[in-house]
């Protein structure tokens, strides 16, 4: 297919390299250096999508980051990415893209019926209409809206691309490589400052690429190229294209997203797709330029209506004509620049200027070229549905209120210029309170909040000469302050055209009897009438108007719409724009890939995976693993076709009848040393610790200051001033911080040191009636009898040449021991245990069996110590000392904590002895009671009791101590279950605790 709209020799594209691509399934070609937008326009494609709310046809409006319409679904190297701006996506060979927001196709869209409904979907439509009846929301309204609305589809596949994060420091960070960015970067670089210059586009130079100006006796573009080439040779300068600084945060930290690979068909080996830079800069220079703003008129969203500056960029950078019969509609001199470019390339434009008698150099030039210019003329409405076919135009009165007779003129595009809006986003994000600049009808940065300076067009300075002067001197001044160098840089002479004053005119009145939609926000379909409704309904604050109408809330963040919206509000409210104020600018400036933000912290990199020293053994023996905090723990060891239930039951049963071994390396371990160690423990735990003899362990419970149980575990006195504390796997880090808090801040007089030794020790729990036999074989020279190593006793021993610590403690409720060796010997220990245990039918058991054993014993764990329970609730009140003070003790006097009917742990058994009770079920008196049915308690943990071969659960139940024997219902709406249950003691097995002491 020939490119009807491509000029022969104009532009910066590489015509030697043809690239083929597909859009909506159709094949086209473009050139290296094209964007998807310029390549489509070169092929005469203007219809690229449908609008968000009304599904009106959408074309191209801009040529860069400000684009509100041309959002596509991109396909690249078997991956898909939504919400890509066609104006930013560089063309590569084999690129595929599809329209979004249209169903079934861009040319025939069912949703467009919204467009022809008598009453348009007005502001707040969704709020008002879909609220009733309530039951319709989930079933009917929401699925429909979701299908019809939304931009693009996120891939459900794993993203194979890699994203990197990088931290960088510099003296000057410069956002934007237009005239101002280049000048300040050059001046600062010459003073030896460390400079980072960031440009979001592939090409450096900003407006110099398209403006007809002269710097230092060369074209603006050539000057820019020269400066960039020199900067690239300097070791103290980093220049980055395709890099968008999108967020300005505290302490002068800015974040930049560098597109490393998006312009290539495939990411190169070892390259990331994107790189996110966290940059801390001593000084930030914001040279982000300005964005042209539209003039609002009827049907101004028709494909073919676009910014005049975009038309100029397509022509000068890509050699593409956006139309062959263009109409330029302007209120300032910028429109003439575009008109002159058209005229120079053989296309005759017509210029409509809202001003009465504008006079300037550039207008004279346009006149001398023979361009048809109509003053005091406006576009009333664009005509054409999928593409502009003509325009209704009229003269306008001096007060801009009355339209003359409407005429229709043929055109194939309308290029609009409503003057320029400085891009103040970054300055505003830094905390700069912006101010309204009357001469340009726009906001500019005010007093700097952080170390930031805004220069050039971003600061509302539209003269090139002034921009270069201020930027060169600011670059010199700031770098001199930092480096102490003062290298003179001469400012080149500038030739530019002087512009005359723009017209403060932004919206064309509706002609009598016409009801054209006049859009302010093109991406969210917010029209003038929507703002009017919002104000009529009483919305006053611009922040509220924004949220109610969704003005400026689309992915383009209102880059082309905000100021016109403010103009409208100020006009209706009869306030001046600065009094209305603008909405808050928040990062990111433009949408950033989630992948880039997440960086490498995905999959296995999202958190460290901790494995015990015995992990390889578990793997070899068919362990099925489960995430336990950051640890991987065997859940059960699969035999044959066993499932989790069968396997864990077998393992638990074997512990009750023979002996089992469990990897308990993951338990938190804290080494505590110092003369005041006992005193610390006495303050931290609820029970007494001062009299614990050396060689003995004790179970302890620690509280937060609010009286809630924080953690439990055993601590053993290894020697006079040396203790070994264990914590639960989940709370290990918090308990360490907790101890450090009290030692460093509250009781610094205590002479104690604490350090985590979790990973220094490998642990194995040997549990079951035959565990002593196993232990005796492991330590043949030790007296491990009930007298030699009684319950809660501690011994040190030699395990076949390896130093071991032996604790007689039990979580399973059976006679049990925990053996610790240094981590490196963990696997050796484990294999020895399995070896000597064989005679006693030892089996390894996983966390599921561990849970079963502790649940039927009524031992509490994380599901009971859930941050809402006090010692009493867990039947641990016997461990609360009445004599001494400890952390959180005073809170236990709270009336709720001492209430007669305070919740308490109980056991729960289903009446049918068959139905397992889902964890989280609520306990209620009457399963038929009207909702909300009063909840008496909840099931905290469930298991299949291996002792009694029926289901058993633990519950935290209101007035638990008086509920034993009661019949209740366990209800789980999630699992759709109602189970009649009986309340029993939480100590379901061995209530007297004889086994652990046997």
């Amino acid at each position: 297919m020939s490119q009807d709209f491509r000029l022969d020799s104009v532009g910066l594209i590489n015509r030697d390299k043809k690239l083929s691509f597909k859009f909506n399934g159709k094949k086209y070609f473009g050139y290296e250096g094209d964007t998807l937008a310029s390549a489509l326009l070169a092929n005469g494609v203007h219809l690229v999508g449908r609008s968000f709310k009304y599904h009106r046809p959408r074309g191209f409006f801009g040529a860069g980051v400000d684009e509100p319409y041309a959002i596509v679904q991109l396909y690249r190297n078997n991956e898909t990415e939504p919400n890509i701006k066609a104006t930013e996506q560089e063309l590569f060979d084999g690129l595929e893209a599809k329209s979004v927001n249209c169903w079934p196709s861009v040319n025939f869209d069912i949703g467009a019926i919204n467009n022809f409904l008598k009453i348009f979907l007005p502001a707040g439509f969704y709020y008002k209409t879909f609220m009733w009846p309530k039951s319709f929301w989930y079933r009917i309204y929401e699925p429909f809206i979701r299908k019809a609305a939304g931009l693009g589809v996120a891939s459900t596949k794993h993203d194979k691309e890699r994203y990197e994060h990088k931290y960088e420091y510099c003296d000057l960070l410069i956002a934007g490589s237009g005239p101002s960015g280049l000048s300040s970067a050059y001046a600062a670089a010459k003073n030896g400052a460390k400079v980072i210059l960031a440009e979001d586009k592939p090409r450096f130079g900003g407006s110099l690429l398209t403006d007809d100006v002269n710097i230092g006796n060369q074209s603006g573009k050539d000057w820019a190229e020269g400066i960039i080439a020199e900067l690239k040779t300097m070791p103290n300068v980093v220049v980055k294209n395709r890099s968008q600084i999108f967020g300005y945060y505290d302490h002068n930290m800015l974040v930049m997203s560098e597109k490393v690979s998006d312009h290539l068909p495939k990411t190169k080996k070892y390259h990331p797709n994107k790189r996110l830079w966290y940059i801390r800069a001593k000084e930030v220079l914001i040279s982000s330029g300005s964005i042209e703003r539209p003039i609002v008129f009827g049907n101004n969203d028709t494909p073919g209506v676009m910014l005049s500056s975009a038309a100029k960029e397509y022509l000068k950078v890509y050699g593409v004509l956006v139309g062959k019969n263009p109409l330029i509609f302007t209120n300032n001199d910028s429109g003439y620049e575009t008109a002159i470019e058209f005229q120079k390339h053989g296309v005759q434009p017509t210029v409509l200027d809202s001003r009465k008698n504008p006079e300037s150099e550039i207008i004279d030039e346009a006149k001398s070229l023979g361009i048809n210019i109509k003053n005091s003329y406006v576009v009333v409405a664009a005509q054409g549905y999928k593409k502009v076919k003509s325009a209704d135009v009229a003269s306008i009165s001096d007060d801009k209120k009355q339209l003359g007779k409407i005429e229709n003129i043929k055109c194939d595009c309308i290029c609009v210029s409503g003057f320029w809006t400085p891009s103040i986003h970054l300055a505003s994000q830094s905390g700069n309170k912006t101010k309204f600049k009357e001469e340009i009808d726009a906001f500019v940065p005010g007093i700097s909040k952080q170390q930031e300076t805004t220069l050039g067009a971003a600061n509302g300075v539209f003269s090139l000469e002034e921009t270069l002067q201020t930027s060169f001197s600011k670059g010199s001044e700031l770098s001199k302050k930092i480096t102490g160098n003062d290298n003179e840089v001469s400012i080149p002479n500038v030739v530019e055209k002087k512009f005359s004053k723009h017209d403060k005119f932004w919206c064309v009145p509706l002609p009598a009897g016409k009801n054209y939609k006049r859009f302010l926000d093109f991406q969210n379909d917010v029209a003038v009438s929507d703002i009017e409704i919002a104000l009529k309904e009483g919305y006053r604050s611009i922040e509220h108007v924004k949220r109610y109408t969704t003005l400026g809330m689309a992915t383009d963040q209102g880059k082309t719409s905000n100021l016109n919206g403010l103009q409208l509000v100020s006009e209706i409210e009869n306030k001046i724009v600065p009094a209305v104020g603008h909405t808050t600018f928040r990062p990111p400036y433009t949408p950033i890939s989630i992948g880039a933000i997440v960086g490498r912290e995905v999959g296995k990199h999202s958190k460290p995976t901790r494995k015990s020293p015995m992990h390889a053994w578990h793997e070899k023996n068919n362990a099925v693993f489960v995430d336990a905090g950051v640890w991987l723990r065997p859940r059960y060891y699969k035999r044959g076709n066993e499932n989790l239930f069968e396997g864990s039951k077998r393992e638990a049963k074997n512990v009750r009848t023979n002996v089992g071994v469990c990897d308990v390396t993951t338990l938190g371990k804290i080494d505590i040393k110092g003369p005041d160690a006992a005193e610390l423990l006495n303050r931290v735990y609820t029970n007494a610790w001062l009299k614990l003899p050396v060689g003995k362990a004790r179970y302890g419970v620690m509280l937060r200051e609010d009286g809630i149980v924080m953690d439990d575990g055993t601590t053993t006195r290894i020697s006079e001033n040396h203790y070994h504390m264990t914590t639960t796997t989940a709370q290990a880090a918090n308990v360490l911080s907790h101890l450090e808090y009290y030692l460093q801040l509250v009781w610094p007089e205590l002479n104690v040191n604490v350090v985590s030794t979790t990973e220094q020790w490998a642990g194995a729990a040997i549990a079951g009636p035959k565990s002593r036999n196993v232990l005796q074989k492991l330590f043949p020279n030790l007296d491990v009898s009930n007298e030699g190593l009684p319950f809660m006793g501690y011994l040190e021993g030699d395990l076949f040449g390896v130093k071991a610590r032996i604790f007689r403690i039990s979580f399973s409720g059976e006679l049990a021991y925990e053996v610790n060796v240094e981590s490196d010997n963990g696997n050796f220990m484990w294999e020895k245990i399995m070896e000597v245990g064989e005679d006693f039918k030892i089996q390894p058991y996983g966390t599921e069996a561990l849970s079963t054993l502790r649940i039927e014993m009524g031992h509490v764990a994380g599901s009971e110590l859930d941050g809402r329970t006090i010692p009493y609730d867990n039947s641990l009140e016997g461990l609360v000392s009445k004599k001494k003070d400890f952390i959180g003790k005073r809170s236990l006097q709270r009336s709720a904590f001492t209430a007669e009917d305070r919740q308490k742990i109980v056991g729960v058994v289903p009446l049918d002895k068959k139905t397992s009770i889902p964890e989280g079920s609520h306990l209620v008196k009457d399963d038929k009671a009207p909702l909300p049915n009063p909840k008496l308690g909840h099931i905290s943990a469930s298991c299949w009791s291996v002792e009694y071969d029926n289901p058993f659960s633990l519950a935290i139940l209101k007035d638990g101590k008086n509920m034993i024997g009661e019949k209740l219902f366990a209800m789980s709406p999630l699992k759709n279950k109602v189970i009649p249950v009986e309340i029993v003691s939480s100590h379901y097995v061995d209530p007297k605790g004889e086994r652990v002491r046997s």
Partner: protein
Amino acid sequence: MRPQIEFSYGGDASVKRPELNKEISDQEWDDFVYNRKSLRGKHLELWQHISGCRQWIKVERDTATHEIFKTFKADEEVA
């Protein structure tokens, strides 16, 4: 300068824990455990360098602007 992610917030540093074994009213205890001013402006905070030296430090920070004015060691008197 260290990135914020190495640190963990630990609450208001001006709160003093009542001494152990001291009779204390419900009100005083509530003030210690629960009642906090949600200040806008300068605030003395506790932070722990959890992914580092594990020191608890006091940080004078502006809650509105996030400006950090001064830091103190755990045992240092706040000037």
